[in-house]
């Protein structure tokens, strides 16, 4: 379509143009109407090319970093890898995993469970993985979890902590009386998630003054919390700004935010055995301390996530 479009623009005076225009218009309309049919899956067309592993990531820095680590480890195992970065929230990426557009996605086991089944209990990491596998689409599975954990948390800024006497020992339950005076922030999806406003209300009985939609634990959240635009926010526990800005992470005795071990979510058919082994080897070496360090390199030192991923794989002997 490129060439016809361009040539007809400069040749509008010539007789062929009208015919080209009508044909193109017809083709475009036909394209629209056929893809408008809900019975055939329009996403089929972009299924990952056979033999290529497509690694996806959500729209926050750590997800990009983890996807780079997975992707480079898979490359080292001799597989052909494509990346699809910064896609959006789990609500979107899970759908893309299900329809085969993505082969591998860095996930957090308990968070994924809460998405699949808000009612499910989370007693141990192993039980969580079993529960997730039981509820996953049958084309998908979880590989081994890493010890590295990055949870959602409700954190308050230093100002709020000082005003209400909240310390590192305080729990979410302690917020009950002051919540109606506090504005809480988080990603737009936090508003409707069980591991979000829903759960905070049903589990801890917390009703906040209002909710401010920010980003997924990114710079917007950090800026809003440190600037007291919001008094509490969903902050990831591996966020390097917690220490820097003296945010207070509230304890979660009811385990609402459950387990959040970094775990590869993969398509059963799309990932060959050597890929499974490569990712399990990554999980075995990735712990929370390492993740904190790698996150800080990306978010504070502004290094490129791909460089950080490659350097770590090399130092861990996984390249």
């Amino acid at each position: 379509m490129t060439s016809t479009a361009q040539s007809s623009r400069s040749r509008t005076r010539h007789t062929g143009a009208a015919a080209v225009a009508l044909t193109a218009a017809g083709a475009l309309l036909a394209g629209c109407s056929s893809s408008g049919d809900p019975s055939d899956n329009p996403l089929d067309g972009q299924k990952a090319e056979a033999g290529t592993v497509v690694v996806g990531s959500n729209n926050f820095a750590e997800s990009t970093l983890l996807a780079d680590i997975y992707g480079e480890a898979l490359r080292a195992a001799g597989l052909k890898v494509d990346y699809k970065h910064n896609i959006g929230s789990r609500e979107t990426t899970y759908g893309l995993m299900k329809n085969g557009s993505l082969t591998v996605l860095p996930e957090y086991n308990g968070s994924l469970l809460a998405y699949l089944d808000p009612e499910a209990g989370q007693e141990s990491a192993q039980a969580v993985n079993e529960a997730v596998k039981a509820r996953l689409d049958k084309s998908l599975t979880l590989l081994e979890s890493s010890p590295a954990e990055n949870k959602d948390s409700v954190s308050v800024n230093a100002e709020t902590a000082g005003k209400h006497g909240l310390t590192d020992e305080s729990t979410l339950a302690d917020l009950k009386d002051m919540a109606p005076e506090l504005v809480i922030g988080g990603s737009p999806e936090f508003q409707t998630r069980q591991q979000g406003l829903e759960g905070l209300e049903t589990v801890y009985g917390l009703t906040f003054k209002s909710f401010k939609a920010l980003d997924a634990g990114g710079p917007l959240t950090q800026a809003a919390l440190s600037g007291n635009e919001v008094q509490a926010a969903d902050v990831f526990t591996t966020d390097p700004t917690i220490v820097k800005e003296k945010f207070v992470v509230l304890k979660d005795p009811e385990n609402l935010f459950g387990f959040a071990n970094v775990t590869p979510l993969v398509s059963k058919e799309g990932l060959p055995r050597e890929g499974v082994e490569a990712l399990n080897a990554v999980s075995a070496k990735l712990d929370t301390e390492t993740l904190l360090d790698l996150d800080a390199q990306v978010q504070l030192e502004k290094k490129d996530p791909l460089d950080v991923a490659k350097a770590w794989l090399k130092s861990a002997g996984l390249d």
Binding site: T92, T192, A213, L220
Partner: protein
């Protein structure tokens, strides 16, 4: 997928009608952002457009400024402004005003320029002061075109003010952005419908303003 089904589901959900995330609140916020941006843009564009149109000087400079402003991407300006200034209304007003000034400015200039010179010369011959010529002769005749520039700016603002939600402000864009991340089509489609409704209301207001403000003598031509 039936879009109408989602529209219906969105508007019949009573939870969407009250509270800080309710339709009345979001609609009101959207209206506030839009009116403020339009007021600022008009305060900049109208006087400059009237003056240059009346004197006939600076037309090329205006066209240049308008083209340059049109080249600036609204979404980019928004993100940049937030990164440099931080939160608040100001970073949202910058792209909206940049968006709205060119149509107001250029249309006003062209509107005054295209007034028939004969009555203007007659007024001048009668010894009318220049400011009276502008406001008593030129503006009444040019008003329909001036209003069309304001209308064009207003529609663009209403549609673009949705991006305020990307930087965590309110307005109807909230439903679209939230719907995107929550994968909730009801919200996306509902939000888009509300924006389109507000745009149509804007058209209606300008139509009514045209009926009321434009002199019947001019309208009939």
């Amino acid at each position: 997928m039936n879009v109408l089904h989602f529209v219906d589901a969105f508007f019949s959900d009573s939870a969407h009608w009250h509270g800080y995330d309710g339709i009345p609140q979001r609609f009101w916020e959207h209206l506030q952002y839009s009116l403020l941006a339009l007021a600022v843009a008009a305060a900049v564009g109208l006087p400059v457009g009237l003056l240059t149109g009346h004197t006939g000087r600076g037309g090329n400079a205006l066209a240049f400024i308008a083209n340059a402003a049109r080249a600036l991407p609204s979404f980019g300006l928004l993100v940049l402004a937030v990164l440099l200034i931080g939160f608040g209304l100001l970073p949202v007003m910058i792209p909206l005003v940049v968006l709205a000034v060119p149509p107001i400015l250029v249309t006003t200039y062209e509107a005054v320029r295209s007034v028939d010179p004969a009555p203007v010369d007659a007024a001048r011959g009668m010894g009318m002061h220049e400011s009276r010529i502008l406001f008593r002769v030129e503006v009444p005749v040019a008003l329909p075109l001036i209003l069309s520039g304001l209308r064009s700016a207003a529609i663009q603002i209403v549609s673009t003010a949705t991006i305020a939600a990307y930087v965590s402000l309110g307005g109807l864009g909230r439903y679209i952005i939230d719907g995107l991340y929550q994968r909730d089509y009801e919200k996306v489609v509902g939000g888009a419908t509300l924006v389109a409704v507000l745009a149509l209301l804007t058209l209606a207001v300008f139509w009514a303003a045209g009926r009321l403000a434009v002199s019947p003598g001019v309208r009939r031509r």
